[in-house]
Symmetry: C2
Subunit: 342 residues, 2 copies
C-alpha cells in the first residue's frame, strides 16, 4: 500500500520551529501551553489535515480505548439488538468496538479472541458459541487480569461477571401459561445442555411440567443448536417419527422460525396442526402469521449494562468479580398458544 506520507507531529513542529512535544501538548489542550501557541498549532494542524496516530499513542499509553466483542452471529434479532446497544453505549463513552463473529464455531472463537488480545483491547465482551467447552483461553485471560464480561451465553465460575436473562424463570412462566391455556402434550427443541441457556431453559420447562404433573414424552424433546436450521431439522425429525406434540417450545426465536419454515414445507398449519412458543422474540414478530407467543428478553439493556460494567472494570471503578446479573424477562402473548377448546 503506497501511503502518501501522513502528517506527523514532527512535520507540524518543524514548520512552526518548535519541538514536537509542544505540538503534542498543544493538540491535547495541555495547560502547559500558551493560548497563542495552541491556536497557531491547531490552525496549522487542520490546514495540513493532520490525523493523530492512535496506534502510536496507544503504544506509549498502553491503552487502546478499544473493546473486543465476540458474538456467535449477527443476523439474529436478539444479537443485532444487543450489538446495536453495545455500540451505542461504547461510542458514548469514547470506546471503539472491535467486533468479531464466531459463527458458532469454537475454533474461530479462539482465533478471534487471540487476535483481539494481540490488538491489546482494553477489555472483552463475549457471548460464547453453542458448543464452547474448553475454558483454557478464558483462564489465561483471567491470569493476565484483562477485564472480561460474558453476556447471554456465559460460562460461570471462572471469575468473570455474567449478564443474562432469567432463562429458567422465563421458560417456567411460558410453559405455565401454555398449561393454563389447556395444553398437555409438550415438546422441546432445546439447546445443548452444556450451555447455560440450553440448560436453564430446559429446567424451567421441566419445573413447570413437573409441578403440573404433566409427564414428558422423551421422543418429543430434541437437543440441538440455536439457529433456524435447528428448528427446521427438529420439526422434520419429529414429523418423520410421526410423533408430534401439541405444542413445541423452542429454545430461541430463530429455532421457532425454522419450525415455521419446516411446517410450511410439510403443509402443517400453525397453530392447528402443531403449535409453537419460543424463548426470545423479534420486533417484527407482531406481523408474523401467526405471531409467536414467547418470552421477551431485554436485549438493549443487556448490551448497555455489559458495556458499562466492562468500562467500569477497565477504569478500575469496580473490582472484577464473579457476579451473575440476571435480567427479568416478560411474557409476550401472540397468536400461537391460544385457548384450547375442550
Amino acid at each position: 500500500m503506497k501511503i502518501v506520507k501522513q502528517i506527523t507531529l514532527n512535520d507540524i513542529a518543524k514548520k512552526l520551529n518548535v519541538s514536537k512535544v509542544t505540538i503534542s501538548k498543544a493538540l491535547r489542550d495541555h495547560p502547559d501551553i500558551s493560548d497563542a501557541m495552541k491556536k497557531k498549532v491547531t490552525a496549522l494542524a487542520t490546514k495540513l489535515g493532520y490525523t493523530p496516530n492512535f496506534i502510536a499513542r496507544n503504544l506509549s499509553a498502553k491503552k487502546t480505548q478499544t473493546i473486543g466483542l465476540v458474538v456467535p452471529k449477527i443476523n439474529h434479532h436478539f444479537f443485532s439488538e444487543v450489538i446495536e446497544s453495545i455500540y451505542n453505549t461504547a461510542h458514548k463513552k469514547n470506546y471503539e468496538i472491535i467486533m468479531t463473529v464466531s459463527q458458532e464455531n469454537t475454533k474461530q472463537e479462539i482465533k478471534h479472541i487471540q487476535s483481539l488480545l494481540a490488538m491489546r483491547v482494553d477489555g472483552l465482551l463475549i457471548s460464547i458459541t453453542e458448543n464452547t467447552k474448553d475454558t483454557d483461553i478464558f483462564k489465561s485471560i483471567k491470569q493476565k487480569e484483562i477485564p472480561l464480561i460474558f453476556f447471554d451465553r456465559v460460562i460461570e465460575n471462572l471469575g468473570f461477571n455474567c449478564i443474562m436473562s432469567d432463562d429458567e424463570d422465563g421458560s417456567y412462566q411460558l410453559i405455565n401459561y401454555a398449561i393454563s391455556q389447556g395444553y398437555r402434550i409438550f415438546g422441546h427443541l432445546g439447546g445443548y445442555r452444556e450451555t447455560n441457556i440450553g440448560l436453564s431453559r430446559f429446567n424451567g420447562y421441566k419445573k413447570a411440567l413437573d409441578e403440573a404433573n404433566i409427564s414428558q414424552n422423551p421422543e418429543h424433546n430434541l437437543i440441538g443448536g440455536f439457529s433456524v436450521s435447528d428448528g427446521y431439522n427438529g420439526l422434520m425429525e419429529l414429523y418423520n417419527k410421526k410423533t408430534l406434540p401439541e405444542i413445541l417450545f423452542t429454545v430461541t426465536y430463530p429455532v421457532a422460525l425454522g419450525v415455521y419454515k419446516a411446517a410450511k414445507e410439510l403443509n402443517l398449519s400453525i397453530p392447528n396442526d402443531i403449535d409453537v412458543i419460543s424463548f426470545g422474540d423479534a420486533s417484527y414478530n407482531q406481523f408474523l402469521n401467526p405471531s409467536i407467543t414467547g418470552i421477551h428478553q431485554p436485549a438493549s439493556e443487556i448490551g448497555k449494562l455489559a458495556v458499562e460494567q466492562l468500562i467500569n472494570q477497565i477504569e478500575e471503578k469496580i473490582p472484577v468479580e464473579d457476579n451473575r446479573i440476571i435480567m427479568p424477562v416478560t411474557l409476550n402473548i401472540g397468536q400461537t398458544c391460544i385457548k384450547k377448546e375442550k
Copy 2:
C-alpha cells in the same frame, strides 16, 4: 487499568540468552533462523503465554490488517446481512473489521471516520447516512490515497468505487408488475432525493408509471428517511390527509414494516384497504401476514464484493478507480399486490 506485565519479545530473549531480533524472526518463521532455535522459541513463547503486540507491530509496519466499516444501522435485515458477509469475507483474508454505526447521523459519521483514520485502518467501507451531503472528508481521504469503497448508499464521482443494487431497474420491475396486476393509483414513500437510492428508486417508479401513462398524484408521494418510523409516519400522514392510494411503494423494507405498524393501529387491512410493495426484503418476510411483494437485493454478494475489492486495492492488486458496480436484483412475489378484480 492495572495490567499484569505482558510478556514481550525481550522477556523471551533474556530467558534464552539471545537477542530479541532472533525471537522476532523465529516467531515469524523467518528463514534466517535455525529450526532448533525456532522450536525452542515457540515452545517457550507458548509456555509463557506470549501474545504478540499488534499495536507495536503495526507501528513499525505501517499496516494494520484492519478495515474500517461505517454503516447507518445494524438492526435492519439488509445491513445485518451485508455486515455478516463483510465480516466473513474479511476474516477469511486475515483482516479485522472495525465497524462503527452512524445511526443515520452525519456528525457521528464524520466522527467515526476520523476515529478510523486515526486508528490507521488500511481501508474504508462506507454506506452513508440518509442525509450525508458534505463531501469534504471524502476528498481528504482521496488526497491521502486511502482506499475506500462505498456500498449501497454511495456518493459517485469522488474517485471511489461504488457497489450498489440496480435500484432504478428494481423499482421499474416492481411497479410494472403492480401495473400488470391491475393497480393504477400509486403512492411512494420515497427516500431523500439527494441520496442515490432515494433518487434511483424514485426514477424507476416514475419511469414505469410514465411509460404506462399513469399519472402521479403528488399528494401520494412523500419524501423521508429509510426507517420504520418513516413508514409509520408516512401512512399516518396520508391517512390524515384522507387520500390513500391503492398501493404504496416503500423505498426500503423497514419503511414497509412501519406502514404495517401504522395500518395495524389505524385498523386498516393490508392489502385490502391499503396495499404495500417495497424495495428490499427480509428472510422472515415469508412468514409475514401478508408477506410483502418486493425487490430482493443480493446483500451477501454486495458485502463480499466490497471487501474483496477493497483488499485488492489495499494490496495494490487493482488501481483505485471510480467505477460503479451495479448488482442485479430480483422480484419476489408475496401476498401483497395480488391481482385486482375487475
